[in-house]
Symmetry: C2
DNA sequence: CTCCTCTGGATTGATATCAAACCATTATCG
DNA sequence: CGATAATGGTTTGATATCAATCCAGAGGAG
């Protein structure tokens, strides 16, 4: 998703133009990174699919689709689709929620956990190479600012 | 496109885990920002469509689709599709290249230029609000590092 | 000049994404 | 209790994106 601005800013007050460049860079980085990771992922996993497996493996499964959609910042419709694909691959199981007839629960299978581990292993070479361009100290400088920006966007979205 | 990692890192050497978080943040920011911009764009313009109009307006039109695809970092197939939509909206015209029978040229129309200006005007309120979370100085700190990362990803991609 | 290759575009099929509309179930309120 | 509202999931239709494939025109090697 290439973001606004060919690579420079537009006819706008200086501060806004700078922000436009920021969003532009972020868009290009996201596109390049997504592509780089998906090309090495096992089982044809996409980043969206991996994100679900990784969340379940690290922070616990047995969540409802609605909870996962909130966490991953996608609509429920989007999640329905991706969960369906993971289910076909037998990486998760979707079981009805006993307490709430509307709801379901997402359960990680053993194969799903293995796929997630394999995906992380496959991504390692990219990350190791990336360290040359982005040494630890630099990432630590970047992260807090980006987290602030993300939080602001998230808050501004709903307001 | 939510990026790797629920929001934390994975079972990996520390530096790689940090980088994973970086890509994760960037993915979420991109998703939120794309959404925020597209909701206010006039004429149902998408970011991809705006990027083409903006490039033509700022850096000159009359380029071939192949050149634009390289500049915008998308495949030619993707560009074919988006150019088709812009053409339907009468924001560009696609004319045959006189010198090369295979090639075409993308020309910005007057309506296209107006749509691009209107899109920038529509994005201004978002950018102005964003300045609160991201003051000028902070953006200036971020940009060089992100540009480095983008350049590295671009170089690593082709190698 | 003729073949063979390269390059420019278009097409196809898959995935992700959103908004909007939809149905089922639960929760709330009068 | 019964009607209304809120919530959980799904579906549909649009767009963007990629890889792979395909065709047509241009360029080079004999």
């Amino acid at each position: 998703m290439p973001e606004p601005g060919g690579s420079e800013a537009a006819a706008a007050p200086d501060d806004e133009a700078l922000l436009l460049r920021l969003f532009n860079e972020i868009g290009i980085i996201n596109q390049l990174a997504t592509n780089a990771f998906e090309r090495v992922m096992p089982h044809g996993l996409t980043i969206a699919q991996f994100a679900i497996l990784n969340h379940c493996a690290r922070l616990g499964d047995n969540k409802t689709p609605a909870q996962l959609a909130d966490i991953l910042q996608v609509t429920r419709g989007t999640l329905t689709s991706t969960l369906g694909r993971l289910s076909e691959k037998r990486f998760i199981r979707i079981v009805p929620d006993e307490e709430d007839g509307r709801s379901k629960r997402v359960v990680l299978t053993a194969a799903g956990r293995r796929a997630r581990d394999a995906a992380i292993a496959a991504a390692m070479p990219i990350l190791s190479r990336a360290r040359d361009a982005m040494p630890r100290a630099r990432v630590q400088d970047l992260l807090p600012a980006l987290e602030d920006l993300r939080r602001w966007l998230d808050a501004d979205r709903t307001s």
